[in-house]
């Protein structure tokens, strides 16, 4: 079993072991459950950091292959389906992000009730899917892990959610599954054109890209299928409506994981599969999706301006920010794509932070309606400051992650030669103002001003676990914001193959 000699597989094994450990715990033994969960999450973080080190070593040692730590073991021999692992810079940072958010999520759901055991079971099943998706380079396994990551959402929201939870859970699951239906068709199409006549078909992304055998007229069908399939998860206009309801009803940790990691699967897949494997169609049809994503950037921001539910505001701002991710990916140059990945990181962290804080505030005030709250800064300064920091990150304050990501995206996109893309970029830049508008609106209504509800005066500030989870995220946001080059150096070269493929079909 040479597969176990590859460290990547342990990103799947650790969550599975955690699942097993949780399964062994008693329903009542809350401490044991927490212990197992924290252990699993910590192990993941450690492994992720170690992976970064390994990656940097490999690159420093002059390993210039597209992916490192590649392993491929046959799984379904007749269909040439393999369990193929491998990571490049993008997957490495994505794994790091996921690990961090899982870690923070565990702490954010410390007091989860009822059925904490089942909650963590689903939680870790979800993270299994996420990590599996990021480490695999085989279409089939990627798709499998993708769906593994999707389905726990239903119960996580349905059982532990709030508000109109069953409706939202069903809507979210069905829309995402609808996306994956498109996706599956696209993948099947890719599979059957994965190799030139006579050679065996393959599911390995790298081989498919090497063969470059997908006929152009087929790409016209397959590219939209795959891109939309992932775009649904990337909250691309007009397929984003699951996001507000879903986030509004989801429990804190689930919103964190969903906005923080799951929505990234969309952008990652778009770049890794849709664009990488079908560069021709990407060049031809790119403008359509570019327009759509451009719309979702401004559209989401404007919609966020008038929401009154904290989670709706964040959901719509996620639509805007994730739109920026797809937008940048469709710019087809290294800088913009690097910006996209930075934006994924930044959005992942700060949205997770947002949802964590919202969850904590909601847990105290039992309302998410900003009209019923006010002056919370007087009462819970820690949470208030955290919220302000998250807000600044979101509206792109230098020194926090958002600024770096957005600037990279804008500069990269504007470097594009054709006028259409540059005009769209200008249009996209307006979002920084609108973002400021709605963020400051929330901060002003929620934290500043006089205390609205006298009952709130008795509320407490964050406790230890909450401080841990928020501090982790704030620290991460600040680190990315202050030392972006570290991440950029990891990411940038990963785009060499895709950019080469894109330019070759120009």
């Amino acid at each position: 079993m040479e597969i176990f000699s590859n460290m990547l597989i342990y990103f799947v094994i650790i969550p599975v072991l955690t699942l097993a450990g949780l399964a062994l715990t008693k329903n009542k033994g809350i401490d044991a459950i927490r212990a197992v969960a924290v252990t699993g999450a910590t192990a993941l973080v450690a492994l992720a950091i170690y992976l970064v080190v390994v990656f940097l070593h490999a690159r420093a040692a002059g390993d210039t292959s597209d992916m490192i730590l590649q392993t491929s073991v046959t799984w379904y021999e007749p269909l040439n389906i393999k369990l193929a692992l491998g990571v490049d810079g993008v997957s490495v940072v994505m794994i790091l992000l996921s690990a961090f958010i899982v870690f923070a999520g565990v702490f954010a759901s410390w007091k989860m009730d009822p059925l904490p055991k089942q909650f963590f079971l689903w939680f870790f099943l979800l993270s299994t899917g996420v990590f599996g998706f990021f480490i695999s380079v085989d279409l089939f396994t990627m798709f499998m892990f993708y769906e593994v990551a999707l389905i726990p959402m239903y119960l996580l929201i349905g059982v532990w959610g709030s508000g109109n939870k069953t409706y939202s859970a069903m809507k979210l699951t069905l829309m995402l599954m609808g996306g994956s239906a498109f996706l599956m068709l696209g993948l099947i199409g890719i599979y059957f054109h994965s190799a030139p006549e006579g050679q065996p078909l393959t599911m390995n992304i790298l081989e498919i890209a090497k063969n470059d055998a997908i006929p152009h007229q087929w790409q016209y069908y397959l590219f939209p299928l795959t891109f939309v399939g992932f775009g649904v998860l990337g909250a691309m206009f007009p397929f984003h409506t699951w996001s507000p309801d879903g986030h509004a009803s989801a429990p804190t940790a689930v919103s964190m994981l969903h906005a923080g990691v799951l929505m990234k699967l969309g952008g990652y897949g778009c770049f890794r599969i849709a664009i990488f494997l079908m560069p021709f169609a990407a060049q031809q049809l790119g403008w359509i999706f570019l327009t759509l994503t451009g719309i979702s950037i401004v559209y989401g921001a404007f919609s966020a301006c008038v929401q009154t539910d904290l989670k709706y505001i964040n959901a719509y701002s996620s639509v805007s920010h994730c739109g920026m991710v797809l937008f940048a990916i469709l710019m087809f140059n290294k800088t913009a794509m690097t910006g996209a990945v930075l934006q994924m990181l930044s959005h992942g962290l700060m949205t997770a932070l947002f949802f964590a804080l919202i969850g904590m505030i909601y847990g105290r005030t039992h309302t998410r309606d900003i009209r019923e709250m006010g002056g919370l800064m007087h009462i819970m300064p820690y949470l208030g400051v955290g919220y302000v920091i998250a807000g600044f990150a979101s509206l792109g304050l230098p020194g926090l992650s958002g600024f770096v990501a957005e600037m990279t995206i804008f500069v990269g996109s504007f470097e594009h030669q054709d006028m259409f893309r540059r005009v769209l970029t200008i249009a996209a830049t307006t979002s920084i103002v609108i973002t400021a508008v709605y963020i400051l609106r929330v901060v002003g209504k929620l934290l500043y001003g006089a205390v609205q509800d006298e009952h709130h005066r008795t509320l407490t500030d964050a406790d230890a676990t909450e401080r841990i989870s928020t501090a982790t995220l704030i620290l991460a946001v600040a680190i990315i914001g202050c030392f972006p080059n570290f991440f950029i150096d990891i990411i940038r070269d990963s785009f060499t193959p895709v950019v080469k493929a894109l330019t070759s079909v120009m």
Partner: protein, 486 residues
Amino acid sequence: MDYSQFLMMPQEIGLLVVFLLVFLYDTFMPSKTLKGLPLFATIVFGIFTIFSFFPVQDGMAFGDMFESNKATWAMKNILNIGMFIVLLQSIKWANSDFVAIRRGEFYELMLLTLFGMYLMISGRHFLVFVIGLETASLPLATLVAFEKKYYESHEAAAKYVLTAVFSSAIMLLGLSFVYGITGTLYFSEIASSVQGDNSLLLIVALAFLISGVGYKLSLVPFHLWTADVYQGAPTMVTSYLSVISKGSAAFAFFVIMVQVFGAAYAQIWEWMLYAIIVITITVGNLFAIRQRNLKRFLAFSSISQAGYIMLGVVAANAVGMASMMYYILVYIFSNLAAFGVIAVIERKTGKVTTDDYNGLFKTNPWLAFVMMLAMFSLGGIPPFAGFFSKFFIFLGAAQTHNVAIYVLVFIALVNTIVSLYYYLLVVKAMFIRQDECAIPAFKSHWTEKAGLIICTLGIILIGLVSCIYTSLSDITTSLTSMFSMI
């Protein structure tokens, strides 16, 4: 006559032996020991199941009327597994009042129907096929009517037997046309003699034939008996109907289509099947959405599942065949898990509607868990087996490179969303909905537990462990003669 050719049919003979043992036990053992009959039958059948895994020699027997090859062997084994689970689960029920006196018949008839299915699978002459079909369907009519006290059971039986005979009449008419055109009922000879000419009569015959088999597979529009019969029949019989007979019919259907009409008529029947599959999946799903009675609900879900199985037939190639058999296997485990849970709860409380299941997770977590696994597997959610079978059958279908089949696959995929919707409704009832008067916690009999555990293991492992599919596809790829004509 050369008796050695009986060696070609060891599984059939083994099955007859099991039948005889059960029959003798039933007839000659003292009545107080009859309580042990179900267990006895199950154990004997289990032993037979294991033994029937010994490979058989390939070849034709009885004047080429009977073929035995790896595929038939594998298919029969798949059916055996399903049959064994059904028997295991039915032990407790068979010993319950009202049924106890006739428990012998129950097992004997079940085994006989299975024998009929063997014939359907292995028959290479329409006479054998028809006999097998009838042997498989007529005893089922009596089994459906098994709950002597319940009116529904008899109404279902009446509907079943009338429609069954009607459909077989239609099919026989079609067969008569086939005979009239070709002058033979041997699969291979028909195939060779219908080369080229596509007379209208043969098309009619084909349509009638499809309708006849489609009846057993409950394809739309030949499906309308399904829901009522499933609802009325004893749950054990329902599960048997829904998986075993369906599986055998699907396999036989595949063989007939490919071997008999594969050569000249591939185009024709493939287009027929496109239409049938689309409406089958869609209508099945649409009906399933509204069902509250779980047996009825699973009936409609099984209709749409049959549509997916047909995708394997449309593929008409090795991958398609392997995927279809694999799909049937997975489907057996998933559906039997679901029916197992339903049966247990029905036996304990007599409740069968979705609303009765509200808050089941609180009271009976394990039952709810198994049910959820079954639903996810049926809905095609990874990492459970259903996902793999769906993916592979789509792959198999898409192997034939025309756009029409992509459209077909797309419609099927869209339908998976609808199906997911109603499968999730059940999950929702069990996990999310709360109910004070939920089904109280209870202990189920160890045989039922065993059955459910087997199903659960199957659901979880069959997908992740690739050897099963691999061996199936090795088998089908070895059948070069079969697909040579396509």
